[in-house]
């Protein structure tokens, strides 16, 4: 197992904030919009640098999506910022008609995704957003795994023409990817090569997959770990190549098991390479109040759950 270490923990939303500032410096067409959550989205640095390119919309997410769509007409590259719940479910029809169907170059940037939003509870913890967004034709869906990857992804989506959903989170987590990485949309990252089982993880679950991989190695199981940061378009070649080698797969995501990354992998494998698969994901449930760590444990999203799923799926593959 390749060794991963970290010297600090940071939130992915701060990676977004840093990336937004960088993207703004690189391209004068980049503009930002926020629905009364500037501090939570870490947009302050961009606003300080480019006050005339920032639009405070107020608590009116539908209007924010529409204004963003309009700003693209005239060549702007708008980045909208609010919580994942208010970025997707609340404004699904606005995104569908004014952004996706209209092929507008809007970057929907969503913080506080999943259970790790924590104490605010289920009204704010969306676990359905990946599904909602990936079903929209033409939408790119990205869920980066740490501060550095989120920063790189934010810069990369400014250079990509087309609607993007960028999903990140609230809690501080280990920073373990390269600070100078080049983010390639739609390209899987091989975290660790192995032969016994493929573990595919996205977002906050990637570090947990690394922890699980280390424990599995101690148990004599050689896990291949792949980071799928771009859920759509999916790097099908990378997934098929790995599962062809290992014969089984565990998918890990901070999302409902219905509609998420796991289902995208299952759809691919069922048609190209039917293989045993286990899902580490929320089991069709809403969340609740609690600390991020407590919630990840209660809803079965810890490294121990990945280890158990790996053991189970290997057994199924051997039958």
């Amino acid at each position: 197992m390749k060794k991963y270490t970290y010297t600090e923990k940071k939130d992915t939303r701060s990676g977004f904030g840093a990336g937004l500032l960088e993207a703004g410096k690189k391209n004068p067409e980049v503009v930002a919009l926020c629905a009364d959550l500037v501090g939570s989205l870490k947009m302050d640095a961009f606003i300080k640098e480019f006050p005339e390119r920032f639009f405070q919309i107020g608590i009116a997410e539908a209007n924010m999506i529409g204004i963003a769509a309009g700003l693209t007409i005239g060549g702007k590259i708008p980045f909208t910022g609010t919580f994942a719940n208010f970025s997707t479910g609340r404004v699904y029809d606005q995104i569908r008609q004014s952004v996706a169907y209209s092929d507008k170059n809007v970057k929907i940037c969503a913080s506080h995704a999943g259970l790790t939003l924590g104490e605010d509870g289920a009204t704010h913890q969306i676990l359905e957003d990946i599904g909602l967004m990936k079903m929209l034709p033409g939408m790119t869906v990205i869920n980066p795994c740490d501060y550095n990857q989120t920063k790189a992804a934010t810069i990369a989506i400014a250079e990509h023409h087309g609607p993007v959903y960028l999903r990140f989170g609230r809690p501080v987590i280990p920073v373990f990817t390269d600070p100078d990485q080049k983010f390639e949309i739609g390209k899987a990252w091989m975290v660790n090569e192995g032969t016994d089982v493929t573990i595919i993880a996205t977002g906050h679950m990637v570090w947990k997959a690394i922890e699980a991989g280390e424990k599995l190695a101690e148990m004599g199981i050689d896990a291949e770990i792949i980071n799928i940061h771009t859920i759509k378009p999916l790097d099908e070649a990378a997934v098929l190549k790995s599962v062809k080698k290992t014969g089984c797969v565990v998918t890990c995501e901070e999302h409902n098991k219905f509609g998420g990354l796991g289902e995208s992998i299952a759809r691919l494998l069922s048609t190209e390479l039917p293989s045993p698969q286990e899902f580490v994901a929320v089991n069709d449930s809403f969340g609740e109040s609690g600390t991020p760590d407590q919630l990840m444990t209660k809803y079965g999203l810890d490294s121990i759950n990945i280890i158990e799923a790996a053991q189970k799926v290997i057994k199924r593959a051997k039958k």
């Binding site: 390119r53 005239g74 209209s102």
Partner: protein
């Protein structure tokens, strides 16, 4: 004036012929609101707007128009074709398989003149505001226009936009409301009354003007007057009284022709009331 009022009225007559023929041709679509707005669209595209039929999505340096109540697509398509955005013969494909003239306007099929999809109601004012903000950033002094149904104002997103625009001094925007008092289920005052729209917009900080949307002289004057009010810190709202079905006597004064196509006999009756001034497609 680029055209006399009589010339504009003649164009509007042809637009009305196009509308009833298009809706008859596919036996679906929305003739009522389309007919009611034929004069407004004609005034906008043939007289008021500075626009190019050499279509670019960004429309830099030209005036832009956004249709929020997308179901009145027949009038939009007719005026775009009659202005030269695409050949009028394409109007015959309206709502048919593989057409660029979808039931509701879309950018998806690449029809020149369309910059946003609309149909799901209540979204157009936000988009128009965004386009107006982009023009300000680009130091582009042209104007953004939008049209909204009155019943459509029951959608909450409008009021987010109506609140945003004056507070942020979006004063390069002229929005019009097709104030015909009708919606699918009946008169707006019975379905969900709009009450005093002028007072509502004014309370939100708009400069409101009134016009008769079925009187060419009134609508042209109103739009020119609206332009003179731009750049003074307020968005402009043109509260435009219209008759659903205007120009075809048996379609007027009722919500019944909101979304119903005429049969052969009704088409003949309608066309008899609408002189052909340009060639039929």
């Amino acid at each position: 004036m680029k055209h006399t009022i009589k010339e504009l009225e003649d164009i509007a007559s042809q637009v009305r012929r196009d509308i009833v023929r298009m809706v008859h041709g596919c036996q679906s679509g929305h003739p009522g609101g389309s007919l009611g707005c034929a004069d407004f669209f004609t005034a906008l595209y043939f007289e008021v707007m500075n626009h190019s039929t050499d279509f670019t999505m960004d429309g830099k340096g030209e005036d832009l128009f956004f249709l929020s109540n997308g179901h009145i697509s027949p009038v939009f398509y007719s005026v775009l074709a009659r202005s030269g955005y695409f050949d009028v013969s394409e109007l015959a494909t309206f709502r048919k398989l593989n057409s660029r003239l979808q039931g509701h306007p879309t950018t998806h099929e690449g029809l020149p003149g369309i910059r946003i999809a609309s149909g799901s109601l209540g979204q157009g004012m936000s988009v128009a505001i965004g386009a107006a903000l982009a023009k300000k950033l680009n130091k582009d002094h042209s104007v953004v226009y939008s049209l909204h149904g009155d019943g459509e104002l029951q959608e909450g997103q409008n009021w987010e936009a109506i609140m945003y625009a004056p507070f942020n001094k979006v004063d390069n925007l002229i929005s019009s409301v097709d104030y015909n008092g009708q919606q699918i289920d009946g008169p707006t005052e019975k379905v969900l009354s709009l009450e005093n729209l002028q007072a509502k917009f004014e309370a939100f900080g708009w400069h409101v003007i009134n016009s008769d949307g079925n009187d060419m002289d009134s609508i042209v004057k109103a739009l020119h007057y609206a332009k003179s009010l731009l750049g003074k810190g307020k968005p402009i709202l043109n509260l435009m009284s219209t008759q659903m079905g205007a120009g075809v006597d048996f379609m007027m004064g009722s919500h019944k022709w909101h979304g119903v196509a005429p049969n052969d006999e009704q088409l003949a009756l309608a066309l008899a009331q609408l002189p052909s001034t340009l060639k039929d497609y």
